[in-house]
């Protein structure tokens, strides 16, 4: 996998170098890590975990053996988020962290990967997607192409993918479980219009607590 690494932070944008520089709002990049870290800890408890420096990839190779895919839509960006993992280490992690009763199979893996993706997407949506009513409903769509044999996915564009790699340490066998998180803003990328939801900047959302009306 051909990766590029962060060069420097200019004002509020993080510039990730590739053959062409790509600017991502620094608040967005930090927020993605913060959100995902929080989701992992909510699901797996006080697990040892690390995240590599964010990078940009241009290849279309799918890491691992299972991945989730969910659309991201807002007035300033449209694309997809992918979470990619290898089956066996992830299933063992589910067993060893008490996330499933008995032996974990591919259904438990699918369920947990789906829920993990849903939780990250939800928090991302609440913090960065803004008012859904301003999203143009007459949207362009482009076919995604997936080649299972070649472990290849194309979003119909040469746009780069913003990549985060998380490494969780299995508390029982010490195995490193690697999850790749990719963001590809294939349909719209307008970082000059990026802003965090006002609610997110003023009051943190308390998870798990019941708010009675």
């Amino acid at each position: 996998m051909n990766r590029s690494t962060p060069r420097e932070s200019v004002s509020q944008f993080l510039i990730l170098e590739d053959s062409v520089e790509h600017e991502y709002p620094e608040a967005l990049v930090r927020g993605m890590i913060d959100i995902t870290d929080g989701v992992f800890r909510g699901l797996f408890g006080d697990i040892a975990m690390s995240c590599e420096s964010p990078s940009v990839v241009r290849d279309r190779i799918i890491f691992g053996e299972v991945f989730s895919l969910i659309p991201l839509e807002s007035a300033w960006c449209r694309g997809y988020m992918m979470m990619q993992a290898e089956q066996v280490p992830f299933m063992q992690l589910l067993e060893h962290t008490g996330r499933c009763e008995g032996q974990a199979g591919f259904r438990e893996l699918n369920g947990m990967l789906g829920e993990l993706t849903n939780l990250v997407w939800g928090a991302f949506k609440n913090r960065y997607m803004g008012d859904p009513s301003v999203v143009d409903r007459a949207q362009v769509q482009v076919p995604l192409l997936i080649n299972h044999k070649q472990k290849y996915i194309s979003f119909g564009t040469d746009n780069p993918q913003l990549c985060f790699v998380y490494r969780l340490t299995d508390p029982v066998n010490g195995q490193i479980v690697t999850l790749h998180q990719h963001f590809v803003f294939s349909l719209n990328w307008s970082p000059e219009a990026f802003r965090e939801a006002a609610q997110a900047t003023t009051e943190p959302v308390e998870t798990g607590a019941l708010e009675l009306f």
């Binding site: 939780l119 949506k125 798990g208 019941l210 708010e211």
Partner: protein
Amino acid sequence: MSKILVVDDSSTVRDEVAGFLRKNGLDVDTAVDGKDGLAKMKASPSVKLVISDVNMPNMDGLTMVEKIRSELANKTVNVVMLTTESSPAMKERGKAAGVKGWIVKPFKGDAVLETFRKLAS
């Protein structure tokens, strides 16, 4: 007859929430989306508490609640949303549909068990 209905397209969440409530002595049934939830409510009018996700295929959770109130004319069942959504607009829609409470995922059973017991009694 079940007293609590858990509605979520995620089997992980259904298993976690329903499993926790059953372990604590509560009667629980589950549904996989809003359409399934509505059908189960129609078949089981004795359900006292619905715990539902918002974002689900076939029918979302808030539409399901609106239809429970209108099509099934059930104004009494307590509904708590368990969802990743936290926007004020979404909560307002929930309130207008008669949603009683809102929990932003992840589920923390110990924090809500006694309230759920009261709402289901």
